[in-house]
């Protein structure tokens, strides 16, 4: 009961915040962004309570079924956003990306599996925490990277078209956005590497081999290689600015496909666990 109330409270808050953020950005209204920021905070508190409740109730890191995965992924995305907001309010523009993404994730989770699912034997492993924690840390960082990418593109376009910053003056300089974007790429890349490694060790215990070329594994590898390539493009070939920002926005799709897309379209992935909502 409390679960349901908290879930819907979060969804409504994130929905209203999304509307305010979109309106604020489209019509250059600073005030709306501020209100959105203050709406996200109570939603994040409710989200944290929900996340903690699920963890305490089952004794396992919330990663069982679509709703728990959505809750966890969204929690990391919003936690990063709130952290940035607390450190430097000028970076809170990433909320334009992270809040709607969390809203969509939670909506999808609620639609697929509204109530808690029993924990299947194959998920009961100490590796669950490590594997999923780093997977969600990576997802949260990459979501932020895309958020910064979007912010970069919007600000850059405003400067180019109007030769004035105006509304976008409240956000960091383009060079700083570029560096923040890269910082979170690095964070996500390392977290994803640990996710792949821990998943591989877990797979050995569960399925008997470190790597089985399962579609989810292949996409995780493809996505990691692409982010690795983007790091090389920046560090070695000097990619910067709009080109890199667009690439970062695009690369998020590879993570979304790996985490959620494959299990929707592929039937024979080992990563579809027994309890299906």
């Amino acid at each position: 009961m409390l679960d349901t109330a908290l879930i819907w409270f979060c969804i409504y808050c994130y929905a209203v915040a999304t509307i305010l953020l979109l309106t604020g950005f489209v019509f250059s209204k600073n005030k709306l962004l501020k209100i959105a920021g203050f709406l996200v905070l109570p939603a994040f508190l409710a989200h944290t309570t929900l996340f903690g409740m699920r963890w305490v109730r089952t004794g396992w890191f919330p990663a069982n079924g679509e709703l728990e995965n959505a809750l966890t992924a969204g929690w990391f995305a919003i936690a990063f956003t709130v952290y940035l907001f607390a450190r430097n309010r000028s970076t809170s523009g990433v909320a334009l990306f992270t809040v709607p993404a969390t809203l969509l994730l939670m909506g999808y989770g609620v639609m697929k599996a509204p109530s808690p699912l029993p924990m299947e034997a194959s998920l009961k492993s100490s590796w669950l925490l490590i594997h999923v924690l780093f997977a969600q840390l990576a997802f949260g960082s990459y979501l932020l990277v895309s958020g910064f990418g979007l912010l970069y593109v919007l600000k850059d376009r405003r400067i180019r078209s109007e030769n004035a910053i105006g509304f976008y003056g409240r956000f960091p300089a383009l060079e700083i956005i570029d560096e923040l974007m890269f910082k979170f790429v690095i964070y996500g890349f390392i977290a994803q590497a640990i996710m792949i490694v821990s998943g591989s060790i877990w797979a050995k215990e569960l399925w008997g081999s470190y790597w089985g070329w399962d579609p989810v594994e292949v996409w995780a590898l493809v996505s990691w290689l692409l982010y690795g390539l983007s790091i090389h493009l920046r560090v070695t070939l000097g990619w910067r600015g709009r080109r890199l920002a667009w690439l970062m926005i695009f690369l998020l799709s590879t993570v979304i496909i790996s985490y959620w897309g494959i299990n929707i379209v592929v039937e024979n992935s080992k990563h579809i666990f027994g309890v299906v909502s």
Binding site: M119, I201, L206, W207, G208, W211, P215
Partner: protein, 470 residues
């Protein structure tokens, strides 16, 4: 004037270039992407299903002929992986001097150009009321206290302060980890034996690994396989709200001469040296008793059936295996709207739907509970006791240590290189018109703009320190 360079040199330069890395990586990504569009042979549950898929369309047969259904082992993928590792090795070797120089490990005294430092627009300078000669030690102490390394420059009065001096070595750890992973992967692949075996409660298996069950993959190296004795004492399945929440298998084993009493669970395989036994699924192993019309028991057998999760399975009975019996299992039998079903996966009310056929003719079609009998040509068949059987995957492989070492070194290398990235401050101290001037030019890998604030704060602190202000 153009000069013709030897083509070998150009090829070498190309093979170690970042453009080549990008091309090979992009090609590998395309290949891996293709593997998601083309159904892969290994992902078909059975060989028969794969053959059926091949029969569906000429396109499927073409994909099979091109080996695109086994894309990860295809010559194209192997070729690309070969190029990738060649590039990796060439890049790593090529960068040895650069990395050593950046980590200040090549023995050279760094060259700091006082002119460049003083002229740079990013340089911070301040005046100190002390002779230049006395500042070297104090500046060194200041940086060392903050865990920066200090190297004296070639020109008098110049220094380089470095934070995370060894960070560039992370490059070798990360790129070397790929080599270790490749090595581990190759050893694993070529020494791997995979077999499958179903063992019922109370059953004992004994023999060489490749003789106790079905062989899935034979090793290409280290072909000699150890002997194994496996006795399954007990199998227990646990359920939670209709989901299989635990599987416990108590076994006695002797593998490679080592005797052990062990509990195997999902996620907790039995590992003895290079051999491991992974519990994959459980099946049923009922005791089937056949009684003759005069009441004599003519046959008793334990049959292993993969009938859990609603799957159907079959077995043969009779002196010439002339009776073909198809089984569907209902652990918690119920009939809803005329259809047979199970209320839960737990064995609360077990029942079997049996279809008995002989030479294509159906002799029986009905449902029996545990102990009840099904009649066929005067004989009666009953499932008397219900036991479980465990389906194990048996693996023998070597090479996990290079792989694990690769994993660890790779992660460590990434953290060293990308989180603890190098920050460097070039310092010039010189006396000018009776005063001592200190110039600082800060540089940080990856994040020069974010570093500007840090270097400004550092310069302010240094100024206070050198001027004796607190």
């Amino acid at each position: 004037m153009r000069t013709n360079k030897p083509s070998g040199n150009s090829l070498y330069k190309f093979l170690k270039s970042i453009r080549f890395t990008t091309t090979v990586l992009s090609s590998l990504i395309v290949v891996y992407f293709l593997s998601l569009l083309v159904p892969q042979k290994m992902l078909f549950p059975t060989a028969a299903q794969y053959r059926a898929w091949l029969g569906e369309s000429p396109l499927h047969r073409l994909l099979d002929a091109l080996r695109l259904t086994e894309i990860y082992a295809s010559p194209l993928t192997m070729f690309l992986l070969g190029l990738f590792f060649l590039n990796l090795i060439l890049v790593a070797v090529d960068r040895i001097p650069v990395v050593l120089r950046r980590a200040y490990l090549n023995g050279e005294v760094p060259r700091v150009d006082p002119g460049l430092v003083k002229e740079s627009s990013s340089t911070i300078s301040f005046m100190v009321a002390a002779p230049a000669g006395s500042l070297a030690d104090r500046t060194g102490r200041f940086f060392r206290k903050r865990r920066w390394g200090v190297v004296t420059g070639r020109v008098a009065g110049t220094f380089v302060a470095v934070r995370n001096r060894l960070s560039p070595l992370g490059f070798f750890l990360f790129h070397g980890s790929f080599i270790l992973c490749l090595l581990g992967g190759l050893v694993l692949t070529y020494t791997r034996f995979t077999g499958k075996v179903a063992v019922a409660e109370g059953e004992t298996l004994q023999g060489r690994l490749d003789t106790v069950g079905a062989v899935v993959k034979s090793p290409l190296l280290f072909r000699k396989l150890p002997e194994m004795l496996l006795h399954v004492d007990r199998i227990e399945t646990r359920y939670e709200e209709g989901a299989a929440s635990d599987l416990i298998i108590d076994v006695d084993s002797v593998i490679g001469g080592v005797s052990r009493k062990e509990r195997i669970r999902v996620n907790e395989p039995l590992t003895q040296g290079a051999v491991s036994l992974v519990a994959q699924t459980v099946g049923l192993a009922p005791v089937v008793v056949v009684t003759a019309p005069d009441g004599r028991v003519v046959d008793t057998a334990v049959v292993k059936l993969n009938v859990l999760k609603g799957h159907g399975d079959s077995f043969a009975l009779g002196s010439r295996n002339q009776y073909h019996i198809t089984v569907r299992y209902f652990p918690d039998y119920a009939v809803y709207n005329g259809a047979e079903t199970s209320r839960s996966p737990e064995p609360r009310n077990p029942a079997f739907h049996l279809v008995i056929e002989k030479e294509g003719a159906q002799l029986y079609d009905g449902t029996v509970r545990l102990g009840e009998e099904a009649a066929m040509e005067g004989f009666r068949v009953a499932f008397k006791e219900l036991h479980y059987c465990a389906n194990f995957q048996i693996i023998r492989e070597y090479g996990q240590w290079p792989l694990i070492a690769g994993f660890l070194l790779g992660s460590l290398g990434l953290i060293m290189r990308l989180i603890f990235y190098q920050k460097r401050v070039q310092l010039v101290v010189e006396e000018r018109e009776g005063a001592t001037m200190v110039y600082l030019l800060g540089q940080a890998e990856y994040f020069p703009h974010s570093f500007a604030g840090e270097i400004a704060a550092l310069a302010a602190d240094l100024q206070h320190e050198l001027n004796g202000e607190k």
